[in-house]
């Protein structure tokens, strides 16, 4: 250990005087011997020579003694590294191009990998997060919807597959009693939720079983953020009470920071047992889902089978309308990322392809340089350098260059990552946690080493075969490796063109999809429209009549404003997604089999909504004052629903829609009108069946009031706020924004991925252009004499152009051919990301091919023109 340690100190430069001391010591040694020789009667000169001879090789002894202080392997590596750095300094522009190319490739890869790692791969931040599963109920038609309280109780008590189980739901509650009314988000959970997510209290305690019993005193556990912001961080807040939806909840605990389970951040947690709607009816659904912790060694399939058998037993012991329901389960980590996974895989693939192009360019550049260095290599071999040793040195040089590229790449990646997090669409889970941490750095290092090896192996391979006699002859430098090198480089260019084509095709498809989504007619006029999202606090608006009165009064006031053209209210505006769906059937049509009952979105609209939105009415009428609360129940359906049953959607009018389908209780509604589809699931969503309840017959406390303005809708915002607080200042505004903004955010993720892929494609195109230029340019250079001779014997420049152009065209044709194959293969991965166009799109293939050929032609034109300008006289003279 001491030995090793002193070596390290020595390598670190703490051994200044040693070499000098050794020299002196050996001189003293020699002097002793000379003295002794003289004492034995030798003449001084002879004594000196004899002593020298006896001592042996002075320098060698000194080297050996020095080596005792070194790590010889390390020293040669250091030597190679020093040599590599020197050769980088010798050709700065070459090195800069190589390092920049690698930095782009490695940087982009590291940045995207850190996103992939953070979103898809990093273990969930819960104890045994890899065994957590997300559970729901399912039917053959609808996998993974909410679980009923009764079913949950049975699952929890009767399963043998789970160590623990918790139920959770979201709720919005209005906080009053502290200045203005504020809408708050709550996680509603059973007590084991905290154990399973590893949450611990900072102050007080978390829920226990008794808090969760129906009828228990209302309690709340608050997040540290809520405690700081709403309660001023006062430890005395523990035990005090907050008013939520008009009801007092006692604060029993304050959480430690760091629990992030719900995708939308929550302010506090409430016990689920209190609010559960039904403890009797097994088929009464809320929005509750279940979190399960698998026992070690149990697979998801086993667990699901176990829950299914419980459901089958229940169907016998407690029969009801939902006897065909089964359990649905997926790993929590997958449930969270299922939607974003294809996007990230495509991006990671794209960025990997960019890296391959970068490597191909660098390999080809290094090959050129090694050709230029063939004489140097030949001399080294001639004076006794081993081929393995030379190859090792070349590899080290490449690794040095790759490491420099990686260093710069990391800086780049860090910057990219900051930008990515800034522009991310806010709905990619855990993206904001992406940073350059250890696993990401390890990935970067692995990529760098691979790049160093890949870019180094080919040139090193050819360098090992330098033909001494050819290379050492004056004037023929480089020809020994030229032919083999040219074939290799042509192969690289073909690969670059193919990869670029794949990327161009993919990003072209995404851009087309984005344009298609952006220009989709959303089914209504989204301009000059303001959306005011409200939720009435249930404590003050207990009855349907209260809500009706409030919204009537608000809309009346808004309508009377000068700049307002129309006002309408809806529960779930276009782009808001699925606010609720349910089974339904058409009374006049044959009843579907139990497992074939269709599902439709449902929505609530008031009498003026369709008019204010400028939605097209295909048949019948919209809602009107005739639809009284206690009158005949009516509905308006959308075109997609009507087309499910009738070839002509207008035929729907007059038929009856049975809510819940034939097998579940629900009201019967007369279809009085058919309206056009709107982009309910966002601009890039497919139209889904939807039916509307009239607000008068189906009031709701949560509505979005749509205000159509005559001019700039944002100018109406202060007016809207004024009216709101004039009517009741205890009603919080959930959101107030223009509908264009609202719809725009539904495309945020698509814009994000399209932009990234476009960026990578641009990068690939630039790199490929550089590669093509480099290879052809080198080809022309190495054939200058041949061209000169052709010109001298009478070839026209146009013939030279044809001959050189043929070389370029061959590479291009092969590359494009391969690229078409690749794109066709890649379209399988793109299917889920494409909207409004087909993933196997020949038009897009043509466009991408044309773009790549255009770029390639541009890059090739410079060397080709150079070929025609070769001066035969000067060239042949020099030879």
């Amino acid at each position: 250990m001491d030995e090793w340690w002193s070596k390290v100190r020595c390598v670190l430069g703490l051994r200044r005087g040693l070499d000098h001391d050794l020299g002196e010591e050996m001189r003293a040694h020699l002097d002793f011997m000379i003295e002794e020789n003289i004492a034995r009667g030798m003449p001084p000169d002879e004594a000196k020579v004899a002593a020298r001879r006896h001592f042996g090789n002075l320098t060698r002894v000194r080297e050996l003694a020095n080596e005792a202080w070194q790590f010889p392997q390390v020293e040669t590596i250091l030597q190679d590294i020093r040599y590599g750095l020197r050769s980088i300094r010798r050709s700065p522009s070459f090195s800069l191009i190589v390092i920049l190319t690698l930095a782009l490739g490695i940087g982009a890869n590291t940045a995207i990998f850190s996103v992939v790692y953070s979103v898809l791969l990093r273990p969930l931040p819960y104890p045994a997060g890899e065994r957590l599963v997300w559970l729901g109920e399912s039917t053959p038609k609808a996998p993974g919807f909410s679980v009923t309280w009764i079913n949950f109780q049975h699952w929890r008590n009767e399963n043998d597959a789970f160590e623990n189980m918790a139920a959770f739901a979201n709720a919005d509650l209005t906080l009053t009693g502290r200045r203005e009314a504020v809408l708050m988000h709550a996680g509603v959970v059973t007590s084991s939720f905290f154990q399973m997510t590893g949450a611990r209290p900072l102050l007080g305690r978390l829920f226990n079983e008794s808090d969760n019993l129906p009828g228990a005193a209302p309690t709340v556990v608050v997040t540290p953020e809520f405690w700081q912001n709403a309660l001023g961080g006062d430890p005395g807040a523990l035990g005090s009470s907050v008013t939520l939806n008009g009801k007092g909840y006692q604060i029993i605990g304050i959480l430690r920071p760091g629990l992030k389970f719900f995708v939308r951040p929550v302010d506090f947690y409430l016990p689920l047992g209190l609010s559960t709607s039904s403890t009797v009816n097994r088929s009464e659904h809320g929005s509750m889902h279940v979190l399960g912790l698998l026992k070690p060694g149990i697979t998801l399939t086993q667990a699901r089978t176990n829950l299914d058998s419980i459901m089958q037993r229940l169907a016998l012991s407690d029969p009801g309308p939902e006897d065909d329901h089964r359990a649905y389960g997926t790993y929590l980590a997958e449930e969270r990322t299922a939607e974003i996974r294809p996007t990230l895989i495509v991006l990671m693939g794209a960025v990997g392809l960019v890296l391959i192009i970068a490597c191909a360019n660098v390999a080809s550049l290094l090959l050129v340089r090694n050709t230029a260095r063939a004489r140097e290599m030949a001399i080294r071999i001639a004076i006794g350098a081993g081929r393995a040793r030379l190859a090792r040195q070349l590899l080290t040089e490449n690794l040095v260059i790759a490491a420099l590229g990686a260093g710069l790449g990391l800086v780049l990646a860090d910057w990219c990552l900051r930008t990515l997090v800034l522009i991310e669409p806010r709905n990619i889970p855990r993206l904001s946690e992406a940073r350059l941490d250890l696993p990401v750095l390890l990935f970067g290092a692995a990529v760098t080493i691979l790049v160093g090896l890949f870019t180094g192996v080919a040139p090193a391979f050819t360098a090992g075969r330098v033909d001494l006699t050819v290379s050492l002859k004056e004037g023929s430098g480089g020809l020994g490796v030229g032919r083999r090198g040219q074939v290799f480089r042509s192969g690289l260019v073909i690969a670059e063109i193919a990869i670029t084509l794949v990327l161009a095709f993919a990003s072209g498809l995404l851009v087309r999809s984005l344009i298609a989504a952006q220009t989709t007619y959303p089914g209504f006029d989204s301009q000059h429209l303001l959306a005011l999202e409200l939720q009435l606090p249930p404590s003050r608006y207990k009855t349907d009549e209260n809500s009706r009165q409030y919204y009537d009064q608000l809309m009346q006031r808004l309508r009377s404003e000068h700049g307002v053209e129309g006002v309408g209210a809806v529960m779930c505006p276009p782009g808001a997604g699925d606010c609720g769906d349910w089974w339904y059937s058409i009374l006049e049509n044959p009843a579907p089999a139990r497992k074939d009952v269709p599902v439709s979105l449902f929505n609530i609209a008031d009498t003026s909504y369709f008019g204010a939105m400028h939605m097209r009415l295909l048949a019948g009428r919209g809602f009107s004052a005739m639809d009284r609360p206690n009158g005949a129940l009516v509905t308006v359906v959308n075109e997609a629903l009507a087309r499910n049953w009738w070839a002509d959607p207008r035929l729907a009018v007059g038929h009856h829609l049975k809510v819940g389908g034939p097998y579940v209780d629900g009201p019967m509604l007369e279809i009085v009108g058919v309206v056009a589809n709107v982009s309910q699931m966002g601009l890039d969503g497919e139209p889904m069946p939807e039916f509307y309840y009239p607000f008068s017959q189906h009031p709701s406390t949560a509505m979005v009031v749509m205000i159509r303005s005559r001019s700039d809708p944002e100018a109406l915002m202060p007016m809207a706020r004024h009216h709101l607080s004039a009517i009741d200042r205890n009603v919080p505004i959930q959101s107030l924004r223009t509908v264009d903004q609202w719809l725009g955010t539904t495309l945020a993720r698509r814009r994000f991925s399209t932009m990234l892929l476009g960026l990578f494609t641009a990068l690939a195109m630039v790199l490929a252009a550089v590669g093509i230029y480099g290879v052809l340019n080198y080809w022309v250079s190495s054939r200058q004499k041949e061209i000169a001779i052709r010109l001298a014997v009478g070839a026209q420049p146009s013939a030279i152009l044809r001959w050189a152009g043929w070389q370029a065209a061959r590479l291009l044709a092969l590359g494009v051919g391969l690229g078409v194959f690749g794109s066709w293969g890649a379209s399988r991965w793109l299917k889920s990301l494409v909207f409004g166009v087909s993933a196997r799109n020949p038009g897009m293939m043509l466009a991408a091919g044309a773009a790549v050929m255009g770029i390639a032609a541009l890059a090739a034109s410079v060397p080709l023109i150079r070929a025609t300008r070769v001066d035969p006289v000067r060239n042949l003279h020099d030879a």
Binding site: D2, E3, S6, K7, D21, L22, E24, E25, M26, A28, H29, D31, F32, M33, E35, E36, R40, A50, R53, H54, F55, G56, N57, R60, V61, R62, L64, A65, E67, A68, W69
Partner: protein, 116 residues
């Protein structure tokens, strides 16, 4: 005395023996590199030839292990030389190594002697 011109077949050092022998040569008093090689050749009746290419690296290794220490001093005949001396650690090491080697030699002898 011995020179490389000597045609007589010398013994080579077994792996790890040189270091023990160096320690032994310093047991009585500090010495310089030439003195150590002289001592070893004399004590072995010129059976061992001390190659400087082995001696110097071995000295460096012993220094690294802190078994010996070096100091520039003037020799009795007025020359400056780098004198090595045993450290406490080295002395302890020598005792251990000596008994190990003696046992080793005895065992070797017992096996080889009946034939020889």
């Amino acid at each position: 005395m011995s020179t490389v011109d000597d045609q007589r077949q010398r013994l080579e050092f077994l792996q790890g023996t040189l270091e023990v022998l160096i320690l032994r040569s310093l047991q009585a008093a500090p010495n310089h590199a030439y003195g150590i090689s002289q001592f070893l050749e004399k004590q072995s009746d010129n059976e061992f030839l001390v190659d400087n290419g082995s001696l110097y690296p071995a000295l460096q290794r012993l220094l690294q292990r802190k078994w010996i220490a070096a100091q520039w001093k003037t020799s009795p005949n007025g020359r400056r030389a780098n004198y090595y001396r045993l450290t406490t650690l080295g002395r302890r090491q020598l005792v251990a190594a000596k008994s190990k080697w003696l046992r080793f030699v005895e065992a070797m002898g017992r096996i080889l002697a009946p034939e020889g």
